[in-house]
């Protein structure tokens, strides 16, 4: 069976005033239809860039190499007309920060109906009717269709985003920090909603978050990114419970407080900042922060190594094929 999404050796380099900034450096993974994958990592590690790259939403002038096969077509080389047809109908995105992702001067219903009108050539009335149905599906009061985004709460806005993502029945949904700004209760509701909908409709889901626990709960597989690369990739519960890469370990050990921006940037217990993408450390980019760093870490380029057939990690220590000791984990927690 053809994978729904196949990313192969993806490199994304931003062109900024300070020169080239590599955001994604050789990323590969694939996703079967109906499968769910979580992508984790701190801010700036390239997660959102991956989401944008899938629909070619990156700013003009950004250098993208590699291959992104969406349902058998290469997104990076397809004509613009084809690309526009693929957008939203083939894959849709639930963006982070629903407040800013909704057009403040358009009504909710209108915004949900917009892609329907565009892609399915429905009349305004029919599309708006569909929009109302979708709103009901995500648990929004239907009269809200006449509301403007600012009149909704954060959770409601996120539901709007989800309804919008479902509008054209795409095969793939990318949820980019879809629940980050919400409080715990609402977050749980929204997550449950996503899970249910994905399961019901057999949709492929790529969920992006800095919060491993959320991903482990929602997705079957989990990828952890650091400095533009996957550093760990495996079944989510196992990765969450016993990560092989020290960074993934740190992430899973962290219990970020919801809504605290400092927590987002600096997971609990991990020293230092994520590296500057324009000025990455040599060797393993994680080595300056790594609690179990070895002498060769600053000179050896570390690629993903299989820990198990369905589980890889990019750490030199992985070759002894044994889980890190619990003392290491303890030490990490104390740092």
């Amino acid at each position: 069976m053809m994978p729904l999404l196949e990313i192969d050796d993806l490199h994304v380099t931003y062109r900024g005033s300070r020169g080239a900034i590599p955001a994604v450096r050789g990323l590969s993974f694939s996703l079967e239809p109906g499968e769910t994958l979580g992508l984790a990592g701190e801010s700036g590690c390239g997660k959102s860039t991956v989401a944008a790259a899938v629909l070619r939403l990156l700013p003009a002038g950004t250098e993208v190499t590699g291959r992104i096969m969406l349902d058998g077509d290469d997104v990076l080389t397809m004509t613009f007309g084809k690309l526009r047809a693929v957008r939203w109908a083939g894959a849709s995105i639930v963006f982070q920060g629903a407040m800013h992702s909704l057009n403040p001067v358009h009504r909710i219903g209108q915004q949900i109906a917009e892609p329907i009108i565009l892609h399915e050539k429905l009349s305004h009335e029919a599309a708006e009717k569909r929009a109302v149905e979708l709103m009901a599906q995500v648990g929004l009061p239907t009269w809200r269709a006449r509301s403007y985004p600012h009149q909704l709460s954060g959770g409601q806005r996120q539901r709007v985003m989800i309804a919008m993502a479902l509008a054209c029945s795409p095969k793939l949904i990318i949820a980019d920090e879809a629940t980050t700004a919400l409080d715990v209760m609402i977050q749980a509701q929204v997550l449950k909603l996503i899970k249910t909908l994905v399961a019901e409709r057999d949709i492929g889901l790529v969920m992006i978050s800095h919060d491993l626990s959320v991903l482990a709960d929602t997705c079957r597989r989990l990828g952890v990114m650091y400095a533009g690369k996957l550093v760990e990739h495996g079944p989510s519960h196992e990765v969450f419970a016993a990560a092989r890469h020290p960074y993934a370990q740190a992430l899973s050990a962290a219990f970020p407080t919801v809504g605290d921006p400092a927590e987002r940037r600096n997971p609990h217990g991990l020293a230092g900042d994520p590296p500057d993408p324009a000025d990455l450390p040599t060797g393993c980019p994680f080595h300056p922060r790594c609690p179990v760093v070895m002498a060769e870490c600053d000179s050896t380029t570390v690629e993903l190594r299989p820990a198990r057939p369905d589980w890889q990690a990019a750490c030199l220590r992985v070759e002894d094929n044994s889980a890190p000791t619990s003392t290491t984990a303890m030490a990490l927690g104390e740092t």
Partner: protein, 362 residues
């Protein structure tokens, strides 16, 4: 003059701020409109009373500024012929020029209520009559110029702001800055030399042909349109430049917003995103800024009408300066300032209705 070409997105009118919090603001529980009526009335009260205070300020400053002008109205009234002392005394008596300042001021205040603004020093007509006679002409000129400038300016500005750094943007900004930097009256002179004197395409000045045209709507309409082209284009050129720059910055401000990325992700065409998503949002602050610069339109009208001898209020003001015709100046000053204040009030209120972010919430 002091139109700031770089003026960027203004603060939204009172009430628009505060909606920018990006965390969970509690939802407006009630449907829009139900709870906000009192809020709106309060807003209206603040705005209207503010405008009223401004208007009163205008009325008083009009009295004092123009009373500072010495001037000898009697000369203006007398004409070219010499005048006897008796005649002079009679005129002074009639104008109340012999009264002490306090009495004159009291008369002035009284006249505000009776709407009797006095008679022109020059031709002894009611100044209000003079104003009403000329008003339609000014409306025609400024209205045409505004429609042209706003339509083209907003369109070009939006396109320019949408592609920062492109040749189109650079050239349009360059053209606009150059237009903005050119004195209106000089532009008018050049336009006259080129299009009227050299090419002979348009009449030099005035609003109607001296030779007279056939009666009937169309001949008259065409005649006036023919006269209107150059002044309207000259006047439009300068305000056009401002609108381009304002709209461009507004769009620039909008460009980074996520909802545009969403629109892109939805598969919308680039120009559709601009037109349907970016422009309506960028238009709101633009409306405010344009309203703030409403006074500048009168500046433009004053200079344009003078150069083209367009028989409007600007020309009337210019003529009144040369005398100086104090009752007329006074009225026109109050009219210009008052209109501007009211236009701003209007814009503030309209904004409430236009911007959904402000409309339903406190």
């Amino acid at each position: 003059m002091a139109i700031d070409p770089t003026a960027r997105v203004p603060a939204a009118p009172t009430g628009a701020a505060g909606t920018s919090g990006n965390h969970d603001t509690p939802p407006g529980v009630g449907r829009p409109g139900s709870g906000s009526r009192r809020e709106f009335l309060r807003f209206l009260g603040v705005k209207v009373s503010g405008a009223a205070v401004s208007l009163v300020l205008v009325l008083f400053s009009a009295f004092f500024i123009f009373r500072m002008i010495g001037g000898d109205p009697v000369r203006a009234i007398g004409g070219d012929a010499p005048m006897t002392p008796e005649q002079r005394a009679e005129i002074e008596e009639r104008l109340g020029l012999n009264e002490p300042m306090t009495v004159q001021f009291w008369e002035y205040v009284r006249s505000l209520f009776t709407l009797d603004w006095g008679t022109s020093y020059v031709n002894n007509q009611q100044v209000t009559t003079l104003m009403w006679d000329r008003l339609p002409n000014t409306l025609l000129l400024t209205g045409t110029a505004l429609v042209l400038a706003a339509g083209l300016g907003i369109w070009i500005g939006a396109r320019a702001g949408w592609r920062p750094g492109s040749f189109f943007e650079k050239s349009q900004v360059g053209i606009s800055l150059a237009l903005w930097s050119a004195p209106t009256f000089w532009l008018g002179m050049i336009v006259i030399i080129v299009f009227s004197v050299q090419l002979g395409l348009f009449p030099v000045n005035g609003m109607r042909s001296g030779r007279g045209v056939a009666d009937g709507f169309w001949p008259q309409f065409l005649d006036v349109s023919h006269h209107l082209v150059l002044p309207a284009l000259t006047m439009a050129a300068v305000i056009y430049a401002q609108y381009v720059l304002i709209m461009r910055s507004s769009i620039l401000e909008e460009r980074g917003n996520d909802y545009l990325t969403v629109a892109k992700a939805k598969g919308l065409r680039d120009d559709v995103i601009r037109r349907r998503h970016a422009v309506p949002n960028a238009l709101l602050p633009t409306v405010t800024l344009i309203a703030l610069q409403f006074g500048a339109i009168f500046n433009g009208a004053l200079l344009t009408e003078t150069i083209f001898s367009w028989p409007g209020l600007g020309l009337l003001f210019y003529q009144a300066i040369r005398v100086p015709d104090i009752p007329l100046l006074q009225l026109l000053f109050v009219f210009f300032a008052g209109t501007t204040i009211l236009a701003n009030l209007f814009a503030d209120i309209i904004y409430r209705f236009l911007d959904p972010r402000v409309r339903g919430t406190s």
